[in-house]
Amino acid sequence: MIELVAKPPCEGLLPVTIGTVTLSEPDMAPLTLIAPMKGKEVALAKAMQTAHKLEWPEAGATSGANGAALVWFGRAQALLVGVAASTKLNAHAAVADQSDAWARVVLEGEDAREVLARLTPLDMRDRAFPVGATARSEVFHMQASITRMGADSWQIIGFRSMAATLVHDLTRAMESMAARSQR
């Protein structure tokens, strides 16, 4: 029997450390886009709580439990990260496997926020974008999902096909920040 070999989106490109910042690709995890059907928002939230112990997130927010996260992903949708979606959600939502659709990278380190400030117009001050906050915005000239995972740690999700450009743009900003802080 033939055996197909899996290849992560950023294979051969990451990890990269420049200055104080590291860009890496976590192991591929299940990603499922979940969009409640009409009038099923409450039922879905309940099913989500039962199946995955996760709160349905407000716009711009995330919720997390047991290594899984539910990331607000735009109007009336959220991305379930890290755990395969329970089939019990299907009764209340359109559920689509997106595990291979996105390149998911983590940018972390002292200057990580400043690196992102070179690429996204988001206000990322602590007050505006605390740990757990998320947004759909742009990273240079591609659209992406940006989530603050820790004080100096950010998850960036972009199109799989654009992984090379995502890495290129982030790396360029990292180089810039590293050269600046050499002073």
Partner: protein, 976 residues
């Protein structure tokens, strides 16, 4: 000449630099201007039009004269202001607009021709013959008049763009800016203080006064230290705020790498977009010159600049300095010079009632009316009622008063107020929402008043954003009245400069008025006053005062020209930073990209995607050889192509079928589960938007395929329909384009190949033509669609993208074992043309379903998007251009896309146009060129011979009109 004193230079750190090939020494803390003056260099530039010798006029970013070129090759920067350029070891600066040298400039002859070169001379002089303007006159004038030049080599410097956000943005760091930042910072607001200088302090760094009993600059330094220590305050030095835009957004240019040797990766400049809830404009004021005859000689400087060079850089700009002004700052200058031990040969005050206690020759009620010297100032003429005196001097400090730096406040089209008491324009509150002007830029000039306004503005800003704020304890500082008597231009003959950078004189402005360019905007454009890189910061107000006088109006009625961003020049490289090379646009790669490149395939762009054109094999020298071979794979064995770039949209919900019925012209609710149907989508205007296949995976689950080009557009269109037109429908959809790697497996041996791979083999019964469903390969779940874009027995097989490369490699080797192989976009195009399948070459936005022969797909049983518009008169006429096939019949057997069609025998001119070709290909299967195109009434003209003319390529032939499907018209092969 360097003097003793405690300037803000580090005498322990000498810095060596070059200017025009000569090596000089300065100190850390010097600008190029202060270092040149310290070395006695006064001639630093030639003027724009007359090539007049020019020196340093100011000590700031407003400098019009002292522009130099720094660096070489791809790192060369022209028009760098010597007054803002900090020196560093090894810096190489050169003067501009001179040949062969600064001291001996051939084009200085222009100055002798000045009577003929006044305002608008080229509009009048170079009128005839008309054609000469563009070819001869303009190039010569442009070469003769000029600033610095770029090298023409590709840029080697890195630039950067960035965003910042804050509660309070403070623009400028003089007394007002420092107090504003301190007040806001201590109240806990996020503060950004932007200062174009390398140090905080503004004018305090250059003045001799005291604050709270200590030298003002020490006070500034203490505040700077406090600000730097606050985690909520971001100090941005070397950063000029260049523009005010909507929503509290400001543009700012940070000079990151101009003051040091370029390091690897270090950006030279960064263009910031700063978003602030409130902004305190504390940009200070700029001193304006006085227009008098030959007021542009090297050695004539602004009085405030002379004080700056003496106090901040311990440089005496002259040995024997004269001071001239219409306000008290002239007196300060004389006092500071005396205190520094510099000889003051005259203090001239135009105010008759002025007095002084200084021990200098004092001329009250007098004016400087002229100057002598060529490459440096030698003497000035002082005119009084009693007569004219000539005084020897090598430096004149002049002050015509102060203009508030209100530019940013005017960037959103607000017009400032004229304040008679200070003879200057001041900002009106609210000109830029959220911006509060404070200090000198608001028309208050004493240090104490500036400190107070800065703190007050911060309190107002803080309250507006809901932060508790109290007025801080105010430091003690001088609080003198500003006493000025307006003096714009000294009467007299000869040229008196207003705009130093563009060589515009009082005479030019008066000439404009004489020629009836009375509006200040017309005067500006006619004379070019204020249109140089300095935007006339020093002297715009003077110029309009002269215009007001010449037209017999007041200054308020004359008004100002429009203040526009940027406040200081911004390199295009900074605004476009990161967009070069790979940063130009995102690159989208399929999962097979690496293998395609490895196979030697030339990649072509399809939108942002990269797709292989063809896969050359050894011995092939022309793409057609590869393409023909690949077509043969599909027609005779089996071919493999990556089709992942096509848009894939997952549609779910109880109303999914009804939703599709509305989107597509044809019916989808009748489609059985496990089957695929071709669909056509119209725009609102009834023309075709896109086509593709949609598969029904379950009752409430469809997977739509769009063309590569229209994937985003279709998704947008669906959002519009769902959110706007069919709000009640319970349907959800999302793009899954990126999730699936999808490959076409096409050809008579397609099923044979697949059955070697699939965990559960298929046959004609389980997977008939247009069947779809789940499948698995090596335990990996995927989808299989029996659809064909080649007309052959074909499938598209989809697996999660992580397995794409692996499956592609497997498909390839298995195809090759069966006598087939990979095929690229060229072969794909030939295959679909042979079958008469359309692409966006045909549905180019102007075609209707009727035009492409698909009028039958517009369902009569239901409503669909664009239905009404598609039925409009004129869209269903028999003489419309309709899709046809074309085959060459003439001597020339070539068809070209874009060529036009004419009746055989008709002259090939516009009025006889009958249609055009959209797609052509050489068909190795049929051994002839084939074309698709649109022909007037074409469906009824099959069999007719028409003429094809390609006017651009010069190709002409005749062709036979035929059905657009050239091969297997009944579609038997696909159903095989």
């Amino acid at each position: 000449m360097r003097i003793d004193g405690n300037g803000l230079i580090n005498r322990a750190k000498p810095v060596s630099f070059q200017f025009d090939g000569t090596t000089y020494q300065g100190f850390e803390g010097d600008t190029l201007a202060s270092a040149l003056l310290a070395n006695g260099v006064k001639l630093v530039a030639r003027s724009f039009k007359y090539h007049r010798p020019r020196g340093i006029l100011t000590a700031g970013s407003e400098e019009p004269n002292a522009l130099v070129t720094v660096g070489h090759g791809g790192s060369q920067d022209p028009n760098v202001r010597a007054t803002t350029q900090e020196i560093y070891d090894g810096m190489d600066a050169r003067s501009q607009n001179r040949w062969p040298s600064l001291a001996h400039d051939v084009l200085a002859v222009n100055d002798l021709g000045a009577p003929f070169l006044g305002a608008g001379f080229y509009y009048k002089t170079f009128m005839w013959p008309k054609a000469f303007w563009e070819k001869l006159y303009e190039p010569i004038i442009r070469r003769a008049a000029g600033l610095g030049a770029i090298s023409g080599e590709p840029i080697t410097d890195k630039y950067e763009r960035a965003y910042a956000h804050c509660d309070v943005l403070v623009v400028g760091s003089g007394p007002a800016g420092l107090m504003a930042a301190l007040t806001a910072g201590e109240a806990g607001a996020d503060v950004i203080i932007a200062e174009e200088d390398s140090l905080l302090g503004g004018r305090l760094l250059s003045e001799a006064g005291e604050i709270d009993g200590m030298p003002a600059r020490d006070w500034a330094n203490e505040v700077a230290i406090r600000l730097n220590a606050m985690s909520n305050v971001r100090v941005m030095a070397r950063t000029s705020v260049t523009g005010a835009y909507d929503g509290g957004t400001y543009g700012a240019l940070e000079r990151v790498g101009h003051h040091c040797e370029m390091r690897d990766g270090l950006p030279k400049e960064c263009f910031w977009r700063i978003t602030a809830k409130r902004t305190v404009l504390a940009a200070g004021a700029l001193e304006r010159p006085v227009a008098f005859q030959n007021n542009d000689r090297p050695g004539i400087m602004m009085a405030s600049a002379v004080r700056a060079y003496v106090n901040r850089w311990s440089v005496a700009p002259g040995k024997s300095v004269a001071v001239f002004g219409n306000n008290d700052s002239a007196h300060d200058t004389a006092a500071d010079l005396l205190a520094a031990g510099v000889h003051v040969c005259a203090l001239i005050d135009s105010r008759p009632d002025a007095t002084t206690t200084l021990d200098v020759p004092f001329y009250a009620g007098a004016q400087v009316s002229g100057s002598e010297g060529r490459k440096e100032l030698e003497a000035i003429s002082i005119s009084r009622a009693s007569g004219t005196d000539k005084v020897q001097t090598d430096c004149l400090a002049m002050s015509g008063g102060w203009n508030p730096t209100l530019h940013l406040a005017c960037h959103m089209s607000g017009r400032p107020d004229w304040d008679e008491s200070i003879a200057a324009f001041v900002p009106k509150p609210g000109m830029v929402p959220g911006l509060i002007a404070a200090g000198a830029c608001n028309g208050v000039f004493s240090t104490a008043a500036c400190l107070g306004e800065g703190a007050g503005a911060a309190v107002v800003a803080l309250e507006a954003i809901g932060l508790q704020a109290d007025m801080p304890k105010m430091p003690v500082a001088e609080d003198r009245d500003y006493s000025i008597s307006p003096l714009w231009a000294v009467a007299g003959k000869g040229r008196a400069w207003l705009d130093f950078q563009n060589d515009v004189t009082v005479k030019d402005v008066k000439q404009a008025a004489v020629e009836n360019f009375r509006s200040v905007e017309h005067m500006k454009r006619y004379t070019t006053q204020g249109m140089a890189t300095d935007q006339g910061k020093n002297y715009n107000v003077q110029a309009l005062a002269v215009l007001a006088d010449a037209t017999g109006r007041g200054i308020p009625e004359t008004g100002t020209t429009t203040y526009r961003p940027p406040f200081t020049p911004v390199a295009i490289a900074a605004m476009a930073a990161g967009a070069e090379d790979k940063g130009f646009a995102p690159e989208r790669f399929t999962t097979s990209h690496r293998l395609a490149v490895k196979a030697g395939a030339p990649m072509i762009e399809a939108g942002l995607w990269y797709r292989p054109s063809y896969f050359p094999v050894k011995g092939e020298t022309h793409w057609r050889q590869s393409c023909d071979r690949e077509v043969g794979y599909v027609r005779n064995a089996v071919g493999i192509a990556d089709v992942s770039t096509l848009g894939k949209i997952d549609i779910k919900g109880p109303d999914a079928a009804a939703f599709l019925d509305f989107l597509y012209t044809n019916m989808f609710s009748s489609l059985k589960v496990g089957r695929v149907r071709y669909g056509l989508m119209l725009r609102e205007d009834g023309h075709v938007m896109d086509d593709g296949t949609t598969a029904r995976m379950a009752d409430d689950h469809f997977v739509m395929t769009t063309t590569t080009a229209a994937a985003g557009q279709v998704m947008q269109h669906m959002e519009l329909v769902s959110q706007g037109m069919r709000r009640g429908m319970d349907v959800r959809f999302t793009s899954v384009t990126e999730h699936w790697a999808q490959f076409a497996v096409a050809g008579p041996k397609a099923r044979e190949l697949l059955n070697g791979l699939l965990d559960a083999p298929i046959d004609g019964e389980s997977w008939p033509f247009m069947a779809c469903g789940d499948m698995s390969i090596g335990g990996v779940n995927g989808r299989l669609f029996r659809i064909s874009f080649s007309g052959e027995h074909a499938y598209e097989v989809a697996v999660p993208a992580r397995y794409g490369e692996s499956l592609f490699a497997e498909l390839r080797s298995r195809a090759e074992a069966l006598g087939g192989g990979l095929y690229g976009m060229e072969a794909l195009n030939v295959l679909r043309i042979e079958k008469g399948f359309i692409t966006h070459a045909e549905i180019d936005g102007r075609a209707t379903a009727f035009d492409i022969g698909m009028q039958g797909m517009m369902s009569k049983k239901k409503d669909f998007y664009g239905k009404g518009a598609a039925a409009r008169p004129g869209l269903l006429e028999d003489d419309r251009e309709q899709l046809v096939g074309l085959k060459p019949t003439g001597v020339v057997k070539q068809l070209t896309a874009g060529a036009h069609l004419y009746r055989d025998g008709a002259e090939p001119v516009r009025v006889n146009d009958q249609g055009y070709l959209t797609s052509v290909a050489f068909s190795p299967t049929l051994g002839t060129y084939l074309g698709l195109g649109f022909l007037r009434g074409g469906r009824a003209r099959h069999g007719e011979t028409v003429k094809m003319v390609d006017h651009l390529r010069g190709i002409e032939t005749t062709c036979e009109v035929c059905h657009p499907v050239f091969l297997d018209p009944n579609g038997e092969k696909a159903r095989d």
